[in-house]
Amino acid sequence: MRVPLSWLNDYVKIDLPVKEVEMILTNAGLEVKTIDYYGLPGADLEWERDNVVLGHILQVEQHPNADKLVLATVEYGADKPEVVVTGAPNLFPYVGQGDIAHLNLYSPLALEGATLYDGHKAELKKTKLKGRELRGVYNRCMLCSEKELGISEEHDGIIIMVKDEYAPAYKAGTPLQDVLGDAVLEIDIIPNIARCASIVGVAREYAALTEQDICYPDYEVVMEGQPLDNRVVITTENAKLNPRFVALLIEGVEQKPSPFWMQYRLRLAGQRPINVVVDISNYVMLEMGQPNHTFDYDFLRQRADEYAPDGPIHINTRLPHEGETLTTLDDITHKLQPYNILVTDPLGNLSLGGVMGGLNSEIKPETKNVLLEAAAWNFINIRRTGTQLGIHTDAAFRFSRGVHPSQALLGAKRAAELLRRLAGGTVANGIIDTYPEPAEPVKVDLNLNYARRLSGLNLSGTEIANLLRRLEFDVTVHAESLTATVPDHRMDIEGGHDLVEELCRVYGYGRIPSTILADTLPPQRGNPTLEQEERIKDILVQAGLQELINFRLTIPERENRLYAGDKTWQTDSADTYVTLTNPISPERSVMRHSILASVMDIAANNSRYQGRIAIFEIGQIYIGQPDELLPQEKTRLSLVLTGQREVPHWQTGDEPPLYDFFDLKGILEHLCDNLQIQVQYEAARHASYRPGRTAQLLLNETPIGMMGEIHPLVVERFGIRIEPGQAVLAADIDLDALIPAIPQAYPYKPLPTYPAVREDLALIVDKTVSAASIEEALLTAGGPLLQEVKLFDVYEGKPIPPGKKSLAYHLTFQSASKTLTDKDVSKNRKRLIQQLSKMGASLRE
């Protein structure tokens, strides 16, 4: 909503600096988004007070040497008038009329030295006015167009302002800043201030906030025409959909441009002036918030001649018939929906009520008689209609946010009176006001203690009442409460809480104290799951991984790239995706089933720039449940490693070693060690991973995830750029299973009192024997003194026989009760070797 301050000033006194007005409105919820200045300081073109003034045109004569130029004699408050050379076509009609001072034509006059925009340039270019000879007549001043002043693009003629009984009292010589200078506030109309979608609406708020009285527009109409009674009948079929319909008839309207002051206000408010009838309709809507519509009365009468030659025009509002269509005045034909409300006559529909007029019944250039409609409509129907048909008119904007039925009569009278005054019309005698169920005044009770408790303000009933009265509430104060009658321009007050907001706004949010919560502190339970997730993130970050946060919207096809050539993986989930009906793009139409797929995509994107990629994400996947409304949201961890294991350094050269399977496994071991969780790794097969380099993670024998080297085909499908020999490692783990297993507390291991004895042992075993099984056997056979088994070498090749491998271990023996002797250790060692030889292991000498 664009609000010119000069217009606002018609209804409430604006005597504070613009910035303060802005702050007062913004703080009260009428957020000023921008301020546009016209001619005033702050504008791109400031009209110099001494050099740009108002001129009174006294006479217009033909230029002696040029057909297309005239000489205008202009009085501007100086000792003698100035003769100005101009080519403005809108002065030509006055040539040769002699003294035209009595016509009261005024125009902005720029004096020599004034800075203006160059009217002949397409862009806004400033230029300084210099005196020069124009075809033999010396000229030092200029009458200005809108473009030259930075008001609009208009440059077809100069601005001509007529002083009459309805126009401001123009006076020659007044600095133009004081006449047309303005600041326009762009106010964001949020849903609960729909009442402020008008200048009067904003004025009302400003008056309340600054404790001033408001001066409403003149809502009286002079009706001197023939009676309207027998000429038009209006019925509304559903008072819920169309609570009120007011109509007035204005006859003998002259269609011409509206006066400059109205055009200027419309322009500043963001409307293009059209002609006096359309402009008045828009002006009243902007001024007091009631949209209105004009019909060609003679067209309606012609139709009535068909259905009731001797009877009145019959206008009826109703819902559409099955299959009914309507052509709006933008010449688009709409198929109507059951919730569109129509203004009709017995022959068919005339307009889309509250949204847009129909093409056939609209005002035409030759229209003389205007039937004016101002109505109230159900805001939900208007909202649905506007959205469905994609029509966003100013009327629909207001009606879809709620315009109180009380405003219809005021708006209709105001528009009719302006048509009488400015368009030369005669208002038929009588107002048709179809208002079968007048809105009851809304009364709201407010408990005073509740008001104090909610606001934190310790105010008396009278103080609260006085704050509300500033917003035109009619308030009665009782002992413990008050009753407020809501003013009839508002539809947003339902309960005491609404009144508290109003009293806080008027009191000033800024004046309400700031206090620290004194209420009982709830039991502090924390969020253990979140805390563990965050702990896992920290451990992975310590291990050198970067956390990601990805889009959770994807498509199944993108996720299925994870499964190399194995159809069974693609069928499990297709119908369990949470699927959008209105995706923003086909690429983001379902909620993800896999985090790994998005982490792989990020690996691919980064592989163009990064030598080392070590990334992870913790987040939700969404598995739709056929019998449940909402999907299961499961928390998973996915991580991907590829590329250089270390940051390259000048001492180690450009190509540090690459990540492999055991880096990934080491990170997972590091994670589980930190979490005090025992996880088993079991060789497995999975369509995402390279066979032979894949493991399933088991927690207490239950699978909780997969890890391994990503299958080369999958790497290729994701487009991860890799060097020869470079592997992509990944893991995908169910945190809903892992996190509950993290112990809250665990016993520490006491530090040893007696020294440890370390022994090395190299075994030769079949290549197929797993390291884990040897380690387990060693620990079992080693007895309680064997504290630690650590593999330090794996070797195949000569002199180890083919099909065999050598595993070398550091064994640590230690007792908690004594220093071990060689005898103790060798006894254990012997037993160990004996046991292992049963597994086919031999000692490597």
Binding site: P191, H497, R525, L530, Q542, Q546, I549, M591, N605
Partner: protein
């Protein structure tokens, strides 16, 4: 014999002075004071002397031994000092060469921002409560006092799913009712972080997916003044102790009164800059007193309980703090971006 002794002493001192390395000193020591060194060999000659001469010779040789030992220690210290100095001098590094960095990991900048928010509110007794991303229309809208076709719904364009009444939550306010049901009849003090989704064009300023942190406090003694105090405290902890806050009337269907909180611009100190659009204020969060309808839907009787709620966008906070001008960077996950934080 004594003369020989003097001669040995003088000669040895001479050699000691000439020694400039620890290696030469080592040799000198072996040859002079070692087990088969010159002094020892002299000692063995004591047998050739008469019993009268022996004490004098003995005394003399012990003196020489001690003196030489002292002289050696002194010289050794000198030489060692010189050697150390020259070793240090010759092993200076070009300290401008780059260091050897450990492989760096990091938290996503939004996780970092969220944790800061958790910590500050945690100190004030607000605990984290999480609720689903995929929500029912009832939790996301209806129970929060957004009736169907209400104009406020237009402020948040939803993604709908193939299941009727199931949408992607447009704000984490959707968890308010769930939290109230969970905690009733205890007082509530929670923050609700999470991912939200809106059907909007993806631009530098808006995304179809964004995180939000909602806050909710419900109790028998909670006022609008508490809302102001709590959120001002939060703003000062997050943006600096000197920050001013401004509360402006606003509108959310689930709060009444509602307020927008601005923080004095920390980039220009309120002077006016491009980021604060020359207003001196930065819009940080929306807030308000919990609407009685919402309290009732959560199980709390509005005649007894009041509460406040607020909501903020961690991306906006991070954008302001680090001067990030494109919201799309957050989910692009370019490591060159993420590793700056």
């Amino acid at each position: 014999m004594l003369a020989q002794l003097d001669e040995l002493y003088a000669e040895s001192l001479e050699k000691l002075k000439a020694a400039t390395t620890t290696a030469v000193l080592d040799t000198w020591y072996k040859e002079t004071l070692g087990r088969k060194g010159a002094v020892y060999l002299m000692t063995r000659q004591v047998g050739q002397l008469s019993p009268e001469e022996r004490p004098v010779f003995g005394q003399q040789i012990n003196k020489i031994k001690t003196d030489l030992e002292n002289a050696y220690q002194e010289r050794l210290a000198e030489v060692k000092a010189v050697e150390l100095e020259s070793h240090i001098a010759s092993s200076a590094l070009d300290i401008t060469l780059p260091g050897r960095r450990p492989a760096r990991g990091g938290l996503h900048v939004i996780t970092q921002t969220l944790r800061e928010i958790y910590r500050i509110f945690g100190d004030m007794g607000f605990q984290v409560y999480r609720s689903p991303d995929v929500e029912t229309d009832a939790y996301n809208f209806e129970m929060l006092n957004f009736p169907p076709h209400h104009p406020a719904r237009e402020m948040q364009d939803s993604f709908y799913t193939t299941k009727e009444d199931v949408i992607l939550r447009t704000h984490t306010s959707a968890g308010q009712i769930r939290a109230m049901h969970n905690y009733y009849p205890e007082p509530v003090r929670v923050i609700l972080p999470g991912m939200c989704y809106r059907n909007e064009q993806i631009t530098t300023r808006s995304s179809i997916q964004f995180t939000q942190v909602e806050g909710l406090a419900v109790g028998t003694n909670i006022t609008f003044a508490d809302l102001k105090g709590t959120l001002t405290e939060f703003a000062r902890r997050l943006f600096g102790a000197n920050r001013e806050t401004r509360f402006r009337a606003s509108y959310f269907p689930f709060t009444e009164p509602s307020a927008e909180m601005d923080v004095s611009c920390f980039l220009c100190e309120g002077e006016g800059c491009q980021v604060c659009k020359y207003t001196g204020w930065l819009e940080i969060l929306g807030s308000g007193m919990v609407h009685p309808v919402v309290l009732r839907n959560g199980g709390y009787d509005p005649a007894i309980y009041t509460g406040f709620a607020f909501g903020m966008g961690p991306e906006r906070i991070a954008m302001l703090k680090y001067g990030i001008n494109d919201i799309r960077l957050f989910w692009d996950n370019d490591l060159r971006f993420l590793q700056q934080f």
